[in-house]
């Protein structure tokens, strides 16, 4: 077996970056989705909570679509084996993503408590299920799945739900929950900040324990042979960053906590990707059936074309998505949503003079913490 060439390695890394980008970004909006009911005491709170991710969650999700598309282009064999092999698990994730996506869209569109409660619950359950199952899925990928010589996965849905994978799921669940709670503490003001921070503290402590256990198990579990030092270094980094998060939260350093939480998520997945290399999908049944990156790869020409496209577009995308976060950097408070100054109301009053004073997000007294690094 030969090693992946430069472009194959590059594209494996780039796909890793896309997944990491997805989890760092959508991670917090999963967390926010899960917390709508727990942190929102009334309708105003809930509206405010949904608004913190309103302008960005859809863009965050595109990281996933692009990871999928990039996998198809650069490693069609991986795309084929992975998504047909994880069929029902992926279906559950997709269904959860659809449900939570429309929940945010539908929530405010009818004025009835029952209507809102329905879409709150679907947002909570959808976010929770997706956050859990992504961890389960990635743990399965790293661990390997039963696969035949044609690289078709022979596992059923139940085979994917073994304890190691479930631990992976609980790890991402707790990480994203903490990540979302910290995000809320950064993007809101008023009494909700303290509540969000308290949830963040609890979730981040849980995530340290769960992630520590998961990474330890991963180190022991790697049935692809000897321990990879590079992977363990990255994993230790992830654990270190995660451990610092609760300490920072106790000192109300929310901005730093968010940055480190993002870093912990990024390094966790980086360690998994390092561990996976040079495989795309190991076979737990027989190593001869491992799907390697080389075997899954598209041609040098296609990867060259895609590299050119990525070099042009990735910086542009980063630039305008970063700009979006800059535009919507201000904290939201209850007073922004009292009366009816939702964005629509602002919209409706656009024609009137002086209406802009009713902008739903007004710039605030300077925040006590450094701004988020999102």
């Amino acid at each position: 077996m030969h090693d992946p060439n430069f472009l194959q390695t590059l594209w494996f890394a780039l796909i890793g970056v896309l997944w990491i980008g997805y989890f760092v970004l959508e991670g917090f909006d999963f967390g926010v989705g899960m917390l709508i009911r727990a942190l929102g005491r009334d309708e105003t709170d809930k509206r405010m909570i949904i608004h913190t991710i309103g302008p960005v969650w859809d863009g965050n999700e595109v990281w996933l679509l692009t990871a999928g598309g990039a996998t198809f282009a650069a490693f069609p064999g991986w795309y084929a084996s992975l998504f047909s092999g994880f069929y029902l698990a992926l279906f559950l994730i997709l269904a959860a993503l659809i449900v939570r996506g429309v929940s945010f869209e539908f929530w405010g569109k009818e004025d009835s408590p029952r209507w809102r409660a329905t879409w709150e619950w679907t947002a909570v359950v959808g976010s929770l299920l997706a956050a859990l199952l992504w961890g389960v899925g990635w743990a399965d990928i790293v661990h390997g799945v039963p696969m035949n010589a044609a690289h078709n996965v022979t596992a059923s849905l139940w085979d994917l739900l073994h304890p190691y994978a479930l631990l992976g799921g609980l790890t991402t669940l707790s990480l994203f929950l903490a990540h979302g709670a910290i995000f809320l503490s950064l993007r809101t003001r008023g009494e909700i900040v303290a509540r969000a921070r308290a949830v963040a503290l609890g979730a981040s402590v849980a995530s340290v324990v769960l992630m520590g256990a998961f990474l330890l198990w991963t180190a022991l579990d790697q049935n692809s042979g000897g321990v990879k030092v590079s992977q363990q270094v990255v994993a230790a980094g992830a654990a270190g960053l995660a451990a610092a998060v609760p300490l920072l939260l106790r000192r109300a350093r929310d901005g730093w906590a968010f940055g480190l939480s993002a870093g912990a998520i990024a390094l966790l997945f980086a360690s998994l990707f390092v561990g996976l290399f040079p495989n795309a999908l190991p076979a737990s049944s027989a190593h001869a059936n491992d799907l390697t990156l080389v075997a899954a790869s598209s041609t040098h020409y296609t990867q060259t074309v895609m590299t050119v496209v990525a070099v042009i577009f990735v910086p542009i995308v980063l630039l305008y998505q970063g700009w979006t976060y800059w535009v919507f950097r201000h904290r939201l408070g209850r007073d922004d949503f009292e009366g009816t100054p939702t964005p629509i109301a602002v919209l409706s009053s656009l024609g009137r003079e002086g209406a802009s004073a009713a902008a739903h997000e007004r710039p605030l007294p300077p925040p006590a913490e450094p701004p988020a690094t999102a």
Binding site: F72, P76, G85, L88, T299, V309, E338, I344, R352
Partner: protein
């Protein structure tokens, strides 16, 4: 392999057919909303530009009112689009391995270049009204609209490769198609016609929706300034787009004669090669795969030859001859799609297109005579007409995909060799039911919100006091028209 359920014997369907049905359901549902989003995004961008230039309040109210419909259709299009990004791997793993080297590239480009643009800037548009300068805010809607159109190009380039593979070689070691020229794939003659046909069709879809809803508003006699202006502005644009859709469609047909002769013959249900062929307008046969006789068949003499070959007695190849040729070329097998489907989807598409042109023409005529706002019969017709583009989009799509059968990639790979070998009928039935249920709920809720917005109409007066609803709860009850965001 299905762990969840033992594969039940689903007598009339094998796993391949289930995979096709499930894929078809998700794709067709997604495609209800895609052309709507493309058309409405362009229309909203147009309205906002007019407002930006003129400062005329009516255009602002139009922007906001039509923006709600755009956002609803984008929302449903986006969430159902997530599924599509993975469906090729899920249902068609052999296909994905075979064509991934070529097909994956435009898909990845679509994500990087188009999806990011569309979803990021639509967020900025919704939430950025008072945060961005008017000029920058106007740019966000244009970038959204541009993103939707760009996305159409990439996905149609990918699809066109399935209709007419170019710029590839077959690697005989790996038995896969390999990309030789990305420019050939992106500049495929098929996509150069399919793209304008689809995008103009999308503009018609958006335009007819605007016209239909405006007609409803005019019938009720409320907010007539917004509705009258909308109808008058959208009518000429829709007519031009409808004619362009038809013109490019005709060009596609001519090209298809060369590239996929079987599809065109099957569209006309023409079995034997004929000189001076007549065009069948309405035919019904027994419900079987290859009907031996027809119960009804109304034909216009020579018209098919005129359309297809631009001559009175031109020869048009029939299904039987093409089938024999393909057998000689590709080996034994049946190369005929289900003719009942191709014949009728083609007729529904073209028929809807003709009706749309006539409707738009009539509207323009009434407009020139200043009777658009009074002609209640036309307003009723326009309401019904809003459904026509959807019919044309869906039947056109089904025609182009089912007319290619038995191929998934024309001449290279058959659909029967394309599915995921270990995805069993249990998994397929679960997901088929799951998606149907989920999408059914989306359709009901989305439709309900759509209808509510129509009923509610645009804000009647921009100077209306909208500070507090009487009896508002703490936090303020959301006003009925607060549909843009949350």
């Amino acid at each position: 392999m299905d762990g969840v359920l033992p594969a039940p014997s689903f007598a009339p369907m094998n796993t391949l057919e289930l995979a096709r049905l499930q894929f078809g359901v998700t794709t067709v549902f997604h495609f209800i909303f895609v052309p709507m989003s493309i058309g409405l995004a362009a229309w909203v961008a147009y309205c906002q530009t007019r407002y930006h230039r003129s400062g005329d309040e009516v255009y602002l109210r139009m922007t906001r009112f039509w923006g709600k419909f755009m956002l609803l259709s984008i929302a449903i299009g986006v969430v159902t689009g997530i599924v599509q990004e993975f469906q090729f791997g899920m249902n068609w793993s052999q296909y994905s391995r075979y064509v991934g080297d070529i097909f994956g590239a435009p898909l990845a480009m679509e994500g990087l270049a188009a999806f990011f643009l569309e979803s990021t800037f639509v967020g900025l548009w919704i939430f950025g009204w008072n945060r961005l300068s008017p000029r920058v805010h106007l740019a966000t809607i244009w970038l959204t609209a541009f993103g939707t159109v760009l996305s159409a190009y990439f996905i149609l380039a990918a699809n066109s490769w399935m209709q007419h593979p170019v710029g590839y070689t077959i690697n005989h070691v790996t038995h896969r198609a390999e990309l030789k020229s990305i420019f050939a794939v992106l500049g495929n003659s098929t996509v150069l016609l399919a793209f304008p046909h689809t995008v103009f069709g999308a503009l018609v879809t958006g335009g007819m929706l605007v016209l239909g809803i405006s007609a409803f508003g005019l019938l009720r006699g409320r907010n007539t300034d917004v509705f009258s202006r909308s109808a008058r502005t959208v009518l000429p644009l829709t007519l031009v787009a409808a004619i362009a859709t038809g013109a490019f469609g005709h060009a596609q047909g001519t090209l298809m004669e060369k590239q996929q002769p079987m599809k065109m013959a099957a569209a006309e249900a023409l079995y034997t090669t004929t000189k001076g062929a007549s065009l069948s307008v309405f035919a019904v046969g027994p419900f079987e795969r290859h009907p031996k006789r027809l119960n009804t068949d109304i034909r216009i003499p020579h018209l098919l030859s005129i359309i297809g070959t631009a001559s009175w007695n031109g020869q048009v190849k029939g299904i039987n001859q093409i089938n024999a040729e393909e057998k000689a070329k590709y080996g034994p097998g049946d190369y005929v799609p289900i003719v009942g489907v191709t014949y009728w989807t083609f007729r529904l598409m073209a028929g809807a297109g003709v009706l749309l042109v006539l409707l738009a023409l009539l509207g323009l005529l009434l407009m020139r005579r200043a009777r658009l706002e009074q002609a209640r019969w036309f307003q009723r017709a326009a309401i019904a007409g809003a459904a026509l583009p959807v019919v044309a989009n869906l039947t056109g799509w089904i025609f182009t995909e089912m007319g290619r059968q038995p191929w998934v990639v024309y001449g290279l790979l058959k659909t029967s060799q394309a599915n995921s070998p270990l995805v069993g009928s249990g998994s397929l039935i679960i997901t088929l039911l799951g998606y149907t249920l989920l999408y059914g709920v989306l359709l009901i809720v989305g439709g309900r919100l759509f209808l509510r917005e129509i009923k509610h109409g645009p804000e009647s007066e921009p100077v209306r006091d909208d500070s507090e609803e009487p009896g508002g709860k703490p936090g303020g009850a959301p006003r009925e028209d607060l549909i843009l965001a949350y």
